[in-house]
Every structure is written in structure tokens, then in C-alpha cells.
């Protein structure tokens, strides 16, 4: 190691293959999905068949008679091992197994344990539950005024100070209301040249990670070990410790690679039930959900967004009022954070002097909604970017010109009052326009095939305040190991952390080992979510590596190595210990500064550690006889700061865009009277290889996040922001009709065309 620091070790900006690449192509990569422990039992879950009902009786006799069934567990049994069996990150509203009432179809009511999963499954299906049906409410707007209440009273968790005032509130389905007030909105509307008002809706969708939720719990001798496909092991540890009334150090949460997460695997999902079952059975218990069961576990909020803007003579937006209603389903999960942490950006990437935002998390009798890549942003951007296009059309201004005119630029105050720093809004918008050839003539089609172009972009704040802690160890042979709780679910964090540690320590990233999260070994991390890891954990790893580096320098000085000597690290250890021995450990802890928004006005001088800017531009072709939309080109552009691994970032962008193409065109959890009609891949269609746009690109603009580790920032969600509005705007451009809700099915397009032609299509 040299004493003179190099300006760059060349590890940042290297597009190396993922460090686990070989294990993934050979099938040997470790997933909890594969885990079996000696003596392990399998649990299968009996789920509610009604959307809202009182449990009259659970008949387990037929199930218990099946040979091989070890035990059948209901809520009463859970209470024998967990006194208050309710969990949730924002509200302690979710029972481990339903008690007295069920609040959505698919809610866990009982569990069966057997050594053979097929027997457990057969027995779970043989449990007969008698329900007294209760009136139910499904729509987020209806739930505001409905006399049906999903919960008797609100039970906020202690985790978040700003939810405390909600404790004990009764007779409401509003789990959280967030408000922002800037300037004088009413006055601005009164003085407006024109006012535009629209209502946009989105559908409930599901992450469908290909590795469904899975946990193996092994509780014995006063300690709990939980192997889980979780995105945040530290939170699971804290929440399970709380449920058990145990100190954190008696709960160990381990993960491996995740077969996708996308937000589905944040906070507690199946872990609490697995722990309770293991305690009851005295044996390790595995819960591995099926793809179908995932649909009843977590989802993306359906939403309604009423947006109203005042515009002056010059085409400047002078005021905007946003009312956002997120359909949270029966349990809050992290929904209240979605309503607030995304809600405050609902006015979009525009400089608007007068802003009012009212954002609501609403309980309904649908399966719960929570975090899903973008954390509420795809719903918001869908509305405000379609709205932007409609305003531009109404004013007769070019859609990109209108956006430029109103753009929230560097140094301007955001609606919260926070001054914009390192948010490349202008660069992203310019690049999108350039890449799609905005303003240049193109083939608009003819006859029954019509083409159009659309553009859209959005701005997201990183979730705050959150902490990451890491340690970096240098072994006596000089090899480096990083201990951090960031979970690699495909985003490439293992590789990114190796590159950051390598950059700091001037090593090759390929030589750095990053261990899988294990709360007995890896320090606290708030979670692998909200595109926060590169920034937060990246800093923690950098700080840990810097500390290790400083200790190595001290060791060199102590052992009399003259500065500037290029002595191998192993030799340094040998000089100190006389043999291959010792470890140098550096630790790093990172907590960005943040100021909570004022409760009444939502204002804060410091809303976020970094801004994420992302947009899409699309060229589409419509078959006007059928409404079929073909996406010819889809360009996604992002501000990722300085990318640690550009190729992985680009793959993240196009991957996110493809995923969001699914939400835009295909995906929809369809309900009839609260019954989900399509909880499987036969009827819930996600994009496949033949659904790709003819041209698909992901691109990073030249940018630096000054406060980021080596200029980097998060990008996992950025590609999801604006695919839907870009396509809807392109459809409008092509055929002059406006779709107000997702998904954009061929039938929806065709109906809009017929309606526009004054000949609406009937039902039969």
C-alpha cells in the first residue's frame, strides 16, 4: 500500500460483471428458497375466502385427520407465544393470524405444519372456516366517506414520531393524511388565466418477484434465527424482538441473494408467523409462499389523483392543488410513508409558487399495498405528466417547451421550500427530447396505423432520515471483506459495495468480498429500499474503508515502514504480529442531515439527502381498428450522479422501464366483490421477451451528486417513473385521445377512439 493517495483507484465507473455472476449462471447462487434445515417442518396457510367478515368458527377436524399433519395453528395458539401478535412498520395493525375478523380475501387465518409440504398443503385446504360476512369497501375514494370501517381504531407504531397523533382515532379509513401548503393557492386560482383540472387513476399491481416470499425460522434455547428473503434484515430483527419482548441480540436474521424484491420484501412479511410456528412446534419451520399467495401479501397501491393547475398568460403554472388517494388495502404496511414521502413531491418537477397537496393513505378491504419500486411515484408521475401534456395542448404550447418554461431548476426552491441541489432536471429533459428526436418530423403513419410521440419525467426524494452502518475488515493476508446489511436482490449492490470499498482501499473490486447480510455479523442498516443503498450504505462502506485505511497507515508507521514504501499488506501484518495474524477493522456509520416537514405546512428546508430525476420518451403506433398499441421506441434517461458501475445502472434503467411497461399496458389485479380474479401468471401478465419495444435504451446523463459517495446516488427506482405517461402522451399525439387510467389496454384505447368519434362502444 502506498502512502501517497491516488486521486482515483479507478474502481468507480468500471462496468465489471456482477461479482456473483458465475454462481448465478451455474445455478449455485444461494437463495433462502433452497434452504432446508434438519428436522424442519413446512407451514402452509389457510386463507380468508371473504373480503370482510367475522370468524364464527374454524373447523380443523378434517385437516387434523390427514396422516402426517403435525399441528394446526390458529390465532389463539399464536397468543400463547406472542402476547400482542400485531405487527407493521407504521401501524401495529396486522395480526400474525386473523383474530375475530378478516379484512381481505387471502388473509392468513390458520397454518398447518407437516414434514411434507404436500401434506401441509392438502390439510390447509381441508380447514373449513365459517364467516359472518360484513359489508366491505374497496374503492379509495368511496372509503373516505363510507360507513364501513376496516379497523375499529388506528394503532400507529412507535417507530415514527409524526404518526403519534393518530393513536386511537376511530371511525375512519384514513390511515394518514399529509398536507403541504405553500403560498396562497386560492388567490392564485382566482387570478389565473386558465385553470386545468383532471382526475387520473391507477390500478393495483403486484411485484411478482420470481422467488416468492420465504422464511425459515428456528427458535430454540432462547434465541431466534430467521433465514428470510427480506430486503431489510435489521428491521425484521427489531420487529421480531419487539414481538417477543426480547433484546435484539437474541434475534438473528440472515439473508442470501433474493430472487427479486422490488419492495415486496420490505418489513415483516412471513417472518412473524414463521417465528411463532417454530416456537409452537419446537422445530425449524419454513414458509415458502406460492406465486399466488404473494398477490394476497403485498401490492402497489391503486390510486386516484385529482390535480388542478392555474396557468398565467405566459404559460407559467402559478398554482397547483393535488389530492392524492392511495388505496392501502386492509393493512397499512408502509403505505403511510408512501402517502407522505412521495406525496410531498406530487406537484412534480416544476417551479410553482403556490402549491397545496393533500395526500391520503386509505384503508380498504383489498389485499395490503405497500412499497413497490418507485414508492408511489409511478402513480404521481402518471397523473402530473399527463396533466402537463393536457395543459400544454390547452395552451397550444409545445409539450417540451411548456416543461422547460416551468422547470424546477438547480437553486430553485421545491414546493417544500428545500433548495434544489444536484437534480439534473434540465439535463434529463433535454436528453429525452434529443434522443426521441423531439420537434423533428417523423413517420406519423397512415390509414389504420398511426404513430405518435410522448415525453414525461419525474422527480423523487430519497426516504429520510435513515442510517446505514458498515464494517470493513482487512485480513492478515491483505484481503478485504465488507460487512454490510444491504441485500442484493438483483440490483447489484454486492458489486457496487465491492467497488466502493476497493476505490477507497485502492484494491481491485473483484478481490473484495461482500458477505451476505446476517444481523449477528453485519451492522444495522435501515433497509434495501427506496434506492437508498448506493448513497447511504455506499457512504458507510466508504467511511469504514477509510477508517481501515487509516489504521493500516498507523500500523505502517508503528512498524517503522517509511512513508511512500510500497510494502504488501501481508508484510505489514507479519511485521506487527510475527506471523500471518491479526485483523484491521474499520467501521463507518452514515446518517444524512434532514429536517422533518412542518406538520401543518409540510415545509422543510432539507427534505431529502438527494433527488432522483428520471424520464421516458416513447414513440408508439396504434392500430385504430383494434386499439392495439405497439411501442416502437422507449428511451429512459436518468440522473444517477456518477454511476459506480455504468453497465449495471443502464440495465437497472431498462429493466425498470420494462417492468413499468407491464404496469402501463398489461398488469392489473382484477377484483369482483373483493375477490381477486387473477392471482397467477396465466391471468396476471407481466412483460415477456416478445413485448419489448423495437428500440429500448437506458441512458445516464452526465451528473455528479456532490454529497454522494464518489459522486453517486441511487437509481433503482428511477426508470419506473415516467413510462406510463410517456406512452399515454404518445397515444394522444398519435390519435388525439386521452387515457385517464391504467392499464392502457387495447380495448380502453379502442373505446376512447370510438367515444372521440361520437360513436361510443356499448357493452355487448
Amino acid at each position: 500500500m502506498t502512502e501517497t493517495p491516488r486521486i482515483s483507484a479507478g474502481q468507480i465507473g468500471r462496468s465489471i460483471p456482477r461479482v456473483e455472476a458465475r454462481a448465478k449462471v451455474t445455478g449455485t447462487a444461494e437463495y433462502i428458497h433452497n434452504l432446508r434445515l434438519p428436522g424442519m417442518l413446512w407451514a402452509k396457510i389457510c386463507r380468508s375466502t371473504v373480503p370482510h367478515g367475522r370468524i364464527r368458527h374454524i373447523d380443523t377436524s378434517a385437516a387434523a385427520a390427514i396422516t402426517g399433519v403435525q399441528r394446526i395453528v390458529t390465532a389463539a395458539d399464536i397468543r400463547n407465544v406472542i402476547a400482542e401478535p400485531y405487527y407493521g412498520p407504521a401501524f401495529h395493525d396486522q395480526p400474525i393470524l386473523a383474530e375475530e375478523k378478516v379484512r381481505h380475501v387471502g388473509e392468513p387465518v390458520a397454518a398447518v405444519l407437516a414434514a411434507d409440504p404436500r401434506i401441509a398443503e392438502q390439510a390447509a385446504q381441508a380447514i373449513i372456516v365459517d364467516y359472518e360476512p360484513l359489508p366491505a369497501v374497496y374503492d379509495e375514494v368511496e372509503a373516505l366517506t363510507s360507513s364501513v370501517f376496516v379497523h375499529d381504531q388506528l394503532k400507529p407504531a412507535g417507530t415514527f414520531a409524526d404518526l403519534k397523533h393518530l393513536a386511537g382515532r376511530r371511525d375512519t379509513n384514513i390511515a394518514l393524511d399529509f398536507h403541504l401548503r405553500r403560498g396562497d393557492v386560492e388567490k392564485a386560482f382566482a387570478a389565473a388565466e386558465q385553470v386545468f383540472e383532471h382526475t387520473f387513476r391507477t390500478q393495483q399491481t403486484m411485484h411478482t418477484p420470481l422467488e416468492p416470499h420465504v422464511a425459515v425460522a428456528d427458535v430454540r434455547d432462547g434465541a431466534a434465527v430467521i433465514h428470510s428473503s427480506t430486503q431489510n434484515p435489521s428491521f425484521v430483527r427489531i420487529e421480531i424482538a419487539r414481538l417477543l419482548g426480547w433484546p435484539e441480540n437474541r434475534v438473528r436474521v440472515k439473508t442470501a441473494f433474493l430472487g427479486g424484491g422490488f419492495g415486496a420484501k420490505v418489513y415483516v412479511k412471513v417472518e412473524a408467523l414463521a417465528v411463532a410456528l417454530s416456537m409452537l412446534a419446537g422445530r425449524p419451520v419454513k414458509i415458502a409462499l406460492t406465486m399466488e399467495e404473494q398477490f394476497f401479501t403485498i401490492s402497489r397501491h391503486a390510486s386516484t389523483f385529482r390535480i388542478k393547475s392555474a396557468v398565467d398568460k405566459e404559460g407559467r403554472i402559478t398554482a397547483r392543488h393535488c389530492e392524492v388517494f392511495y388505496n392501502g388495502g386492509a393493512y397499512a404496511d408502509i403505505g403511510p410513508r408512501v402517502a407522505q414521502k412521495s406525496g410531498f413531491t406530487a406537484a412534480g418537477p416544476y417551479d410553482i409558487p403556490n402549491v397545496a397537496i393533500d395526500s391520503f393513505e386509505i384503508y380498504t378491504n383489498r389485499p395490503p399495498a405497500g412499497a413497490f419500486r418507485g414508492f408511489g411515484m409511478p402513480q404521481l408521475v402518471w397523473a402530473y405528466e399527463c396533466h402537463a401534456d393536457l395543459i400544454a395542448r390547452g395552451l397550444g404550447i409545445d409539450a417540451v417547451e411548456f416543461r422547460r418554461k416551468n422547470l424546477l431548476r438547480e437553486g430553485m426552491p421545491h414546493a417544500t421550500g428545500t433548495i434544489m441541489r444536484d437534480a439534473a432536471t434540465a439535463a434529463v429533459l433535454d436528453r429525452l427530447a434529443q434522443r426521441i428526436g423531439w420537434g423533428q418530423p417523423f413517420n406519423r403513419g397512415n390509414g389504420t396505423l398511426r404513430r405518435g410521440r410522448g415525453i414525461a419525467f419525474g422527480l423523487k426524494a430519497a426516504i429520510s432520515p435513515t442510517t446505514s452502518v458498515a464494517t470493513v475488515a482487512i485480513a492478515a493476508d491483505g484481503s478485504c471483506t465488507v460487512y454490510c446489511g444491504t441485500v442484493d436482490m438483483g440490483q447489484g449492490s454486492t458489486t457496487a459495495m465491492a467497488q466502493i470499498a476497493a476505490e477507497t482501499l485502492e484494491l481491485d473490486a473483484e478481490a473484495v468480498r461482500v458477505v451476505a447480510p446476517d444481523t449477528d455479523v453485519t451492522p444495522y442498516d435501515m433497509g434495501t429500499l427506496g434506492s437508498r443503498s448506493t448513497f447511504h450504505m455506499g457512504h458507510a462502506v466508504r467511511l469504514a474503508a477509510e477508517e481501515a485505511k487509516a489504521k493500516l497507515a498507523a500500523l505502517a508507521a508503528e512498524t517503522g515502514v517509511p512513508p511512500g514504501t510500497n510494502l504488501p499488506l501481508a508484510e505489514l501484518f507479519r511485521r506487527k504480529y510475527g506471523m500471518q495474524a491479526g485483523t484491521v477493522v474499520g467501521s463507518g456509520s452514515y446518517l444524512p442531515s434532514y429536517v422533518s416537514p412542518d406538520h401543518a405546512t409540510g415545509m422543510t428546508p432539507n427534505a431529502t439527502p438527494f433527488w432522483m430525476v428520471g424520464g421516458s420518451a416513447a414513440e408508439i403506433e396504434i392500430d385504430t381498428e383494434t386499439g392495439q398499441v405497439r411501442v416502437l421506441r422507449l428511451v429512459t434517461v436518468a440522473d444517477a450522479g456518477t454511476p459506480v458501475n455504468p453497465r449495471i445502472v443502464e440495465t437497472q434503467l431498462t429493466g425498470a422501464a420494462i417492468q413499468h411497461l407491464g404496469m402501463t399496458l398489461f398488469e392489473n389485479m382484477e377484483f369482483t366483490d373483493g375477490q381477486l380474479r387473477n392471482p397467477n401468471f396465466a391471468e396476471y401478465k407481466i412483460p415477456g421477451i416478445r413485448d419489448l419495444p423495437e428500440q429500448l435504451t437506458g441512458e445516464i446523463v452526465d451528473a455528479v451528486q456532490q454529497s454522494g459517495p464518489y459522486g453517486a446516488k441511487g437509481v433503482g427506482e428511477t426508470g419506473t417513473f415516467a413510462v406510463a405517461p410517456a406512452i399515454a402522451n404518445a397515444i394522444h399525439d398519435a390519435v388525439g385521445v386521452r387515457l385517464m387510467e391504467l392499464p392502457i389496454t387495447p380495448e380502453a384505447v379502442y373505446r376512447a377512439l370510438r367515444t372521440a368519434a361520437g360513436d361510443p362502444l356499448g357493452d355487448t
Partner: protein, 288 residues
């Protein structure tokens, strides 16, 4: 899946003897791709399955008849039909249809007989085989009978077959002078089940349609012919007007059902549009 017994008889007679017309708990299994789905979801819990995979070469051959027709054994896997030169020569529309049917892995396992006996309205082959005028040969305790494909299915997952009758082969008559095509229309992803499957087989001469066979699947509860659309074409000169009238007749007569893929009204639109396009393709010679 719940436990069941599995029999693997070595002859057709043995297989038939293991099936009971009055016992729905015993069923024949061929490739098993569809049956596995039903068993895994708990939709069907058999007591006993009778595997047809050891019944020998009688059910696995593809034979071209002297008249140019073709007979395909019931246990021939869809992938083998897709790749068969004989099938391609006799009725190329079959191979073209199979290319986008389900996926390669399913076609590597699923059999022709199983595909037809399953009677799922979203399958692609039934409308194609109906348009080609194909029949199934069926063997039961009383002997053998022939059934036109359009008469095979009576409802959703229901056929005229008794529980102890087995499809042994599919016969496709010679297609001399005819051209056929299949339109698979999906409303969501490209690999989705069809919202509409539309097969047409036309014999046209000198710009006049001599005979047209039109069959629909997916949009209706069972695959079926559309006789009024056929009549709208028969003996008529090929003009845009003729095709439009056939499209309208088809849209009007089809007993369309609504589902995940679209409303009744929308599927009627699809029928009208895609029938005209399919006819134009065969009449212009783009399909065979």
C-alpha cells in the same frame, strides 16, 4: 398435489379397462401439462390416473394418406407436429399455429390428443383443425367412432367423450386447392392466452370464393364454426364489400363471452376486423 395412484398400461385395451365411465376420479393422462395445472390448483383431485405414454407406436405416428390427407396419432407431442415435414406439407397452418401456442416446454410434453380432450377454449389448435375439416378417431369399449372436431367439445373443459373413451388419432382431409391461416389475437402480452383465435380455410378460384370454412376459438365458450360468415362468402367475388359482410356476419353470430381479455362488444370488434384481415391474407396468397 393430493396423492393418487398411477397406472401405466401397455395397450389401449388395458387402458380402456382401467377407466370407468361412471368414475370421474379416474382419468387418462397423456403429457399431463394441463392436468398437472388442474391438480396443483386443487381443481381436480383424482384417485387414479391412467398414463397413455406406454401404449406404443400406434398412437405416436404421423401418416400421409394416398389422397394427401394426414393422420396424426393422439400421443404425438405438439413439438413433433410442429417439426413434422409431413404435417407441414399437408397443412402448413398447423405448424405456424403451434409456433406461438403456449411455449416450447409445454409443446415438448403436451400431446395432440390431450390438447383436444382437455377442451380448454383458449387452445389454438381446435379452431384450426375445425377449419381444416379434421376429425378425431375415438376408441371405447364399444369400438371406434369418428367425431368432427367441432362436435367434440360441449362446453368449458367438457367433451362428448365418455370417461372410458380415448382419442387415438386426428385425421385431416386433403387440403387441395385450399389456403388457410390462423389469427391469434392477444389483448395483453404477446404470450398471453388469445382473446380471439380465428382460423379460416378458403378455396377460391378466379377471384371467387368457392368454399370457406371459418372457425373461432377463445372468444367463445367452445371452438366452433361460423356458418353465416361462411355463407356470406360462398360463391361471392372477393371484394372489400364481401369481406366486410363476412366480418360483420361473424361478429354478429359468434356467441361471445366476456373475460379478462375483453368485453363482448370489444371481442366482436376484434372478430370483424381480424376475420377480414385473415381472409385478405389467404386470398392474397400470403398464407397457405
Amino acid at each position: 398435489m393430493s396423492p393418487f395412484a398411477l397406472e401405466e398400461p401397455a395397450s389401449l385395451a388395458e387402458a380402456l379397462a382401467l377407466l370407468d365411465p361412471d368414475d370421474p376420479g379416474a382419468r387418462a393422462i397423456a403429457g399431463g401439462t394441463a392436468l398437472m395445472l388442474m391438480m396443483k390448483s386443487g381443481l381436480y383431485r383424482p384417485q387414479r390416473l391412467v398414463s397413455l405414454r406406454r401404449l406404443g407406436p400406434a398412437l405416436t405416428g404421423i401418416h400421409t394418406a394416398a389422397d394427401g390427407g394426414i393422420e396424426i396419432g393422439a400421443m404425438v407431442r405438439l413439438a413433433d407436429i410442429e417439426r413434422s415435414g409431413k404435417v407441414r406439407a399437408a397443412a402448413p397452418v398447423i405448424a405456424e399455429t403451434l409456433l406461438t401456442h403456449s411455449n416450447v416446454r409445454v409443446r415438448n410434453v403436451a400431446t395432440l390428443g390431450g390438447n383436444l380432450a382437455h377442451a380448454d377454449p383458449h387452445m389454438d389448435l381446435p379452431p384450426v383443425l375445425i377449419a381444416l375439416g379434421a376429425t378425431v378417431r375415438v376408441t371405447g369399449p364399444a369400438g371406434e367412432r369418428s367425431i368432427a372436431i367441432e362436435d367434440l367439445v360441449t362446453g368449458y373443459l367438457e367433451t362428448v367423450l365418455a370417461n372410458n373413451e380415448l382419442i387415438t388419432a386426428v385425421s385431416i382431409p386433403p387440403q387441395t386447392g385450399r389456403r388457410a391461416t390462423y389469427a391469434k389475437v392477444t389483448a395483453r402480452t404477446a404470450d398471453d392466452w388469445p382473446a380471439l383465435g380465428l382460423a379460416v380455410s378458403v378455396h377460391a378460384e378466379d377471384g371467387v370464393v368457392r368454399d370457406a370454412r371459418i372457425a373461432i376459438g377463445a372468444a367463445t365458450e367452445t371452438a366452433r364454426r361460423l356458418p353465416q360468415a361462411e355463407a356470406a362468402l360462398a360463391g361471392r367475388a372477393v371484394t372489400d364489400t364481401t369481406l366486410r359482410e363476412a366480418g360483420r356476419a361473424a361478429a354478429a353470430e359468434a356467441p361471445v363471452v366476456a373475460d379478462h381479455h375483453g368485453s363482448v362488444a370489444y371481442k366482436r370488434v376484434l372478430i370483424e376486423v381480424h376475420l377480414q384481415r385473415a381472409l385478405r391474407r389467404v386470398l392474397d396468397g400470403a398464407a397457405r
